[in-house]
Amino acid sequence: MMSASPLGTTLQLVTIIAEPVLEEQLTRELRSLGARGFSVSEGRGQGSRGIRASDFGGAHVRLECVVSAASAHAIMDHMAAHYFAHYAVIAWVSEVHVLRGEKYA
């Protein structure tokens, strides 16, 4: 799952941008899909969908979690299955290097 690199263990960073009403349920689900932690920040954006519910100005939350490749797969599949159809959501995965890799995977 993990591979060593000169800069530490190689893991996956999953970034999810979603409607704010989803924050609580998403972080719960991330935990259950293997994320040992996550970070959240706020922003705004535009995509194909014009409107965003429950907020009046296009605000969103941005969730980041460093996870194993397996978890990254599981999270992406979960997002596709449960969120992409109805919600203004985007998610991407990139490769990152961390120290103490065993803490996150």
Partner: protein
């Protein structure tokens, strides 16, 4: 005062004018808007103030005097989501989710519209001494009407679309413990406990008839205008049925509420405010609850109708109308 006089007095009020300014600002594509945290902070203040004053006056009211109005309010809390759902689903042919989603908004209540009705009645009472002041316990009724409509509409949606229950329970809890409820109900309790002496110490700050409350309210409505103005572009998307609904439904239920309020023994002012509550649509508590439980309900429909049609209609034109209805019901 005849209807056109009432309308004019209502429209030249700084609250209505501030709202209009916000809309205009957006129409001329100004980037002006209040920082979100300031907007939230103001809403905390306004709701807490409403609760506190309502609580102080609630402590003075006899149980008997509230019982009937409270019962009538709960009745309205049951009628309004059902009637909205039925109208949208069977007359308007909207999907289950859209119908239930919109019904959750119209079954609940807009606190700012409530305040605007109170303001209007204060001005009426000042102009005409024969009009008694609005009952002090009205904020209690506001708290009562806040959540049942959302619960009922979401329950309809959940049952008819056969969605998992767990999420629903979580959302219902959130509605019951949302900011509005905490501040309103909490304020009511604090107001009732602290008594008149303590109230007098903070009254100039919290009194909804005072300069601070009303001044802050203007700034709040300025931002509401910006938010409503930002949705005007979506008016075309809601379609003719929903557009008519967003005006006609409030008129019918505002008059109904005014009549039921009168039956329950409320003064003409109290009945006007109750009618306004029935006619108003929530745009704070309802949207997130609907978004999470009914993801396939189209937010454009419920946000635009509640915020860009019904809210302005009520604040600018509806309230004087429901006042007329209350006068008529009282046989004045």
């Amino acid at each position: 005062m005849d209807m056109s006089g009432l309308l004019k007095a209502n429209l030249l009020n700084p609250i209505a004018l501030s709202f209009a300014l916000g809309i205009v600002a957006r129409l001329i594509r100004s980037e002006f808007s209040l920082p979100k945290d300031i907007y939230t902070g103001i809403s905390v203040y306004l709701l807490f103030a409403l609760g506190l004053k309502g609580g102080v006056e609630l402590a003075d009211a006899s149980f008997a005097s509230i019982l009937k109005p409270a019962g009538m309010t709960i009745l309205l809390g049951v009628i309004t989501p059902l009637s909205a759902y039925g109208t949208l689903r069977y007359l308007g042919k909207f999907s289950i989710s859209d119908s239930a989603g919109i019904a959750a908004h119209y079954g609940s209540v807009s606190a700012v519209t409530f305040v605007a009705a109170g303001n209007f009645m204060t001005a009426m009472a000042q102009a005409n001494p024969a009009i008694p002041p609005v009952e002090g316990f009205m904020p209690t009724l506001l708290a009562l009407l806040e959540s049942p409509g959302i619960h009922i509409a979401l329950a309809i949606g959940a049952i008819k679309t056969a969605r998992p229950e767990q999420n629903i329970k979580h959302v219902l809890h959130e509605v019951l413990t949302a900011r509005t409820m905490v501040l309103l109900v909490g304020g009511l309790i604090i107001g009732a406990l602290m008594g008149h002496k303590n109230w007098e110490v903070v009254q100039p700050f919290y009194d909804s008839k005072g300069a601070i409350f009303r001044g802050v309210l203007c700034i709040f409505l300025l931002e509401m205008g910006v938010l409503a103005g930002a949705r005007l572009g979506d008016l075309r998307k809601v379609g003719p049925f929903l557009f008519v609904f967003a005006i006609a439904w409030p008129v019918v239920h505002g008059c109904l509420g005014a009549w039921l309020g009168t039956l329950a023994g409320l003064s003409v002012g109290g009945a006007t405010v109750l009618g306004t509550m029935a006619a108003s649509a929530s745009y704070i508590a309802a949207p997130p609850a609907v978004r999470v439980t009914l993801p396939d309900a189209n937010p454009t429909l419920y946000l635009t109708s509640a915020l860009a049609i019904t809210f302005p209609f009520n604040v600018l034109f509806g309230i004087p109308l429901y006042f007329r209805a209350a006068q008529w019901a009282a046989g004045m």
